[in-house]
């Protein structure tokens, strides 16, 4: 349903994404991996029709997403209804006066009447465990709660594609775990998931397919997440991990981390 | 420079609001045109930014501190239209949520700090930049613009204060609102601004502007090409015409006090209004002798005193209880 054909984008003269080609099918769950500034966010923004390729193409359901096609309000409205995007910086995403209005915002733009809005908002709040937060102001919430509000706001209008930019950043382990399970659940319900992350521990849990970005802003690898994580050499070349990085395979489960040696910071802080 | 409540006559406040609202509407239209649909978030953010700018305490000579207004800087960074809207939003929030500046004189405050300041400084900066084309010229333009703009705003404030005694006085010629004539208001307002505050504003504006220019020049608004002459003319006309409007309403509305208000409301059946002389006015500040307020029918005075007394004792009791509690914890 989603296709990119050698798309490139640069921001203020600096290349942000180079010659990216990929195809994502309906119902897939894809992780975008890469070091900071390697082009993950740009790719997500392009998929969501927020930036447009300088060269190359970006297609959604075989229709080109470009400045020109998006200037048709009917097309843009239909497109944005199918896409849901949770920004890395949720602060910027929450712009309404209280949680209820925040979740209702998208629904009201679509044009639901207030009773439908109320029903859908309640569903979304129930889904994210936010019942009782309706009257709170989003900026007074904790980081985890804000993320949940952003998620509820996006899910309320029931998009087909759900993209999340670094969704685990700044979450405590418990909330991160909750989010992982929640996303898997959404994927099982048929939503297409596109998640950017540099948290290697959770890649496997979240998706079967991983796309690795190199520091030259190109797609470095596109393969099953299992085999990508085994290819430590590849991860090193993409500068995602350092030389102390290794994989534990004891006690029946595997996890990834890097031990701090002589004060070197961990790779997952990357 | 925030004008508080009760210093300007309601008539003056009304005139200033009548001026400020259409000016802001024009600004909104121009800002939307110039920034397309990015306007709302940008103005909201920039309002917060200008609010925060007013919270930076700047070191001033003599060990004191003061704060900048930031209108000049905002105009240089996002253009005068968006700056006017942003500073206005900041002023509204300050008045309503923080009690900083009155609610009735909001129109006047917006006119001084959100319209005169950004537009005057913007045009001066633009003119200087045209003459001296180097980067130094640009910075000098912003400095001069900020200095002149702030002083223009202060002058406007002083004039609004200063005309009060002549346009709002009672029958015996005593002032109802700000009691200082232009001859006092202008020097009192202008001296600190000309000597100190203007320079602080200029230094702060240039400092931040040059910092942003160095770190991220693309964040600064690019000059749009022409086509704005008519709107600029409208704004300048507004700025020039306001003093005339204020003076013109002086004779007609100056006496528009409580009495006329009562007549208006009671549709022409004037009620027995006893205008209060100075003596009575002063005796109010005496300490409620015998629990009655002088000049009020005794019963009413008694009730009012009682309400006040009860309220005050509750407040004192509760504050004291709070203090005691804190002490016992500590």
């Amino acid at each position: 349903m989603l296709e990119m054909i050698s798309a490139s984008y640069s921001y203020g003269g600096q290349p942000a994404l180079r010659n990216a080609s990929l195809k994502i099918e309906k119902g897939e769950s894809v992780c975008l991996l890469g070091a900071n500034g390697s082009g993950k966010s740009t790719m997500l923004k392009m998929i969501n029709g927020l930036v447009f390729p300088d060269s190359g193409k970006c297609l959604f359901e075989s229709k080109e997403i470009s400045r020109k096609s998006m200037s048709d309000p009917r097309f843009a409205k239909a497109f944005y209804r199918k896409m849901g995007f949770v920004f890395q910086n949720v602060e910027a995403q929450l712009f309404c006066a209280d949680v209820y209005d925040e979740v209702a915002f998208g629904l009201r733009q679509i044009g639901f009447d207030e009773t439908e809005v109320r029903m859908k908002v309640e569903d979304a709040l129930k889904l994210t465990g936010l019942l009782g937060f309706e009257k709170r102001a989003p900026y007074h919430l904790s980081g985890g709660e804000k993320k949940k509000v952003a998620l509820a706001a996006v899910l309320a209008s029931d998009p087909e594609v759900l993209s999340l930019d670094e969704p685990l950043n700044g979450l405590d382990p418990r909330t991160a775990r909750w989010l992982c399970e929640f996303l898997q659940d959404q994927n099982a319900k048929g939503k297409t998931l596109i998640i950017s992350t540099h948290n290697l521990e959770l890649v496997q849990e979240m998706s079967r397919r991983a796309i690795l970005f190199g520091e030259d802003h190109t797609i470095f690898a596109d393969m099953p997440s299992m085999s990508l994580l085994d290819d430590i050499d590849m991860l090193k070349r993409a500068n995602l991990v350092d030389e102390y990085y290794h994989k534990h395979q004891d006690s029946g489960h595997s996890h990834f981390h890097s031990h701090s040696v002589s004060g070197k910071p961990g790779a997952d802080k990357g | 420079m925030h004008i508080p409540e009760n210093y300007l006559s309601p008539a003056t406040c009304a005139v200033m609001a009548v001026v400020a609202v259409p000016a802001l509407a024009v600004c909104a239209k121009k800002a939307k045109q110039e920034l397309s649909n990015e306007t709302v978030p940008l103005i909201g953010m920039c309002a917060a930014f200008s609010f925060l700018l007013m919270m930076f305490n700047l070191p001033l000579p003599g060990g004191t501190t003061g704060h900048a207004v930031g209108g000049a800087l905002a105009a240089a960074l996002v253009g005068p239209w968006a700056a006017a809207l942003s500073v206005s939003a900041a002023l509204v929030i300050q008045a309503v949520l923080f009690g900083d500046g009155g609610i009735l004189p909001l129109g006047a405050n917006i006119f001084n700090m959100a319209i005169i300041l950004p537009f005057v400084s913007y045009f001066i900066a633009k003119a200087v930049k045209k003459v001296v084309k180097s980067q130094a010229g640009e910075f000098a333009g912003i400095a001069i613009g900020a200095y002149v703009g702030l002083n223009a705003a202060a002058l406007a404030t002083a004039i609004e204060f200063g005309i009060q005694p002549s346009i709002a006085a009672d029958a015996s010629g005593l002032p109802l609102y700000c009691p200082y004539p232009l001859s006092i208001a202008i020097p009192a307002m202008m001296m600190p601004h000309l000597l100190v505050a203007g320079f602080a504003e200029a230094a702060f504006s240039v400092g931040i502007y040059s910092f942003i220019k160095r770190v991220s020049p693309i964040s600064i608004r690019q000059e749009s090409k022409g086509g704005n002459k008519l709107v600029y003319a409208f704004i300048s006309a507004l700025i020039l015409l306001v003093p005339l409007g204020l003076l013109a309403q002086g004779t007609a509305w100056g006496e528009w006090g409580a009495e006329e208000m009562a007549e208006l409301v009671e549709s022409g059946s004037p009620l027995g209004f006893t205008p209060w002389g100075m003596e009575n006015g002063f005796s109010f500040s005496a300490l409620l002798p015998d629990y009655t307020v002088p000049g009020i029918p005794e019963v009413v005075g008694y009730i009012l005193s009682a309400i006040c007394g009860v309220a005050l004792s509750i407040i004192i009791f509760r504050l004291a209880a709070g203090l005691l509690k804190k002490k016992s914890i500590a």
Binding site: K77, Y80, N89, E91, F95, C96, A97, G106, R108, Q109, I110, P138, H140 | M1, P4, E5, V40, P41, G44, M45, A47, A48, F49, L52, M55, N57, L58, P59, T65, G66, H67, S86, I93, F98, G99, I103, L104, L150, D170, L174, P175, Y177, P179, Y180, F204, G207, F211, I212, V215, M261, A262, L271, W276, F284, V300, L304, C308, I315, R318, L319
Partner: protein
């Protein structure tokens, strides 16, 4: 611009940091006032913001017009009574606001008083006290309710959205500036000079942050299909608290017209 005449702390090397400390205090107090908005308060929150706004504006106009000390006095007593019933934190805030307004006003009017030219202006400090109490009570209104009240008064969506966004941004940018200022304080170590330069750095960084966030916020709005409509009006009930509020205002207005 207003300058505070408080002397800076005279602890030798730290003296030059007074402006950073003062800025820090200002930022913290502003943020705490906005945070206090998210409280579960008492009866005052049951009064609808719409009635509160209309009544307050009406009373402020009456106070400004009034030449009668006892009308002003009545306004003060009724509001003091209302203040006395607030929760302690809110009470302190309103009283502090009123005291500041009164004190400032006294200072400003004092010269005229001595010149014997004061006239009704001698009422100004008392009026200032009354207006500050009214405004103080109004300032306890939850900001989001205030924008709904404005919507009811047919304010354009554009304005409401700008106001709502400003207050949100104020929290985000305020917290950001606070952290930047704290970092500045730690790095300056009470060093001398460079005050303007370092403040300009903080201010500039805050602006860049705000620019970046506004771009993101715009994108987030686009993503959720922003088409220019903002928020519908809520229901306007008329409970006991509202009735009480309106009645009190009407009573004061009656006093204004009939005394």
């Amino acid at each position: 611009m207003k300058s505070s005449k408080k002397p800076s702390p005279s602890r030798g090397g730290l003296k030059n940091d007074a402006f950073v400390d003062k800025s820090l205090i200002t930022f913290i107090s502003v943020l705490s006032i906005i945070r206090a908005q998210d409280r579960q308060d008492s009866w005052i929150d049951r009064v609808n913001a719409f009635y509160k706004l209309c009544c307050s504006l009406f009373l402020i106009v009456l106070v400004a017009l009034s030449r009668s000390p006892y009308f002003v006095f009545a306004v003060i007593s009724v509001h003091l009574l209302a203040v006395a019933l607030l929760k302690t934190a809110s009470m302190k805030r309103v009283l502090a606001l009123a005291a500041t307004a009164f004190g400032f006003s006294c200072l400003m009017i004092a010269p005229a008083f001595f010149m014997g030219k004061a006239g009704f202006a001698s009422l100004i400090p008392v009026k200032a006290l009354a207006s500050a109490l009214i405004a103080g009570m109004l300032s306890l209104v939850k900001f989001q309710e205030l924008t709904s009240a404005l919507k009811r008064l047919h304010a354009p969506d554009f304005l409401l959205m700008v106001l709502d966004l400003s207050i949100r941004s104020l929290v985000m940018l305020g917290e950001f500036s606070l952290e930047t200022l704290q970092a500045l304080k730690m790095r300056r170590l009470g060093g001398r000079g460079g005050g303007y330069r370092s403040l300009a750095g903080v201010g500039g960084t805050v602006f860049l942050k705000s620019k970046e966030m506004s771009e993101e916020m715009h994108q987030a709005m686009v993503c959720r299909g922003f088409a220019g409509t903002y928020r519908p009006m809520g229901k306007l009930g008329f409970g006991l608290a509202n009735a009480g509020w309106v009645l009190a205002t009407a009573g004061l207005a009656a006093l204004f017209f009939f005394t």
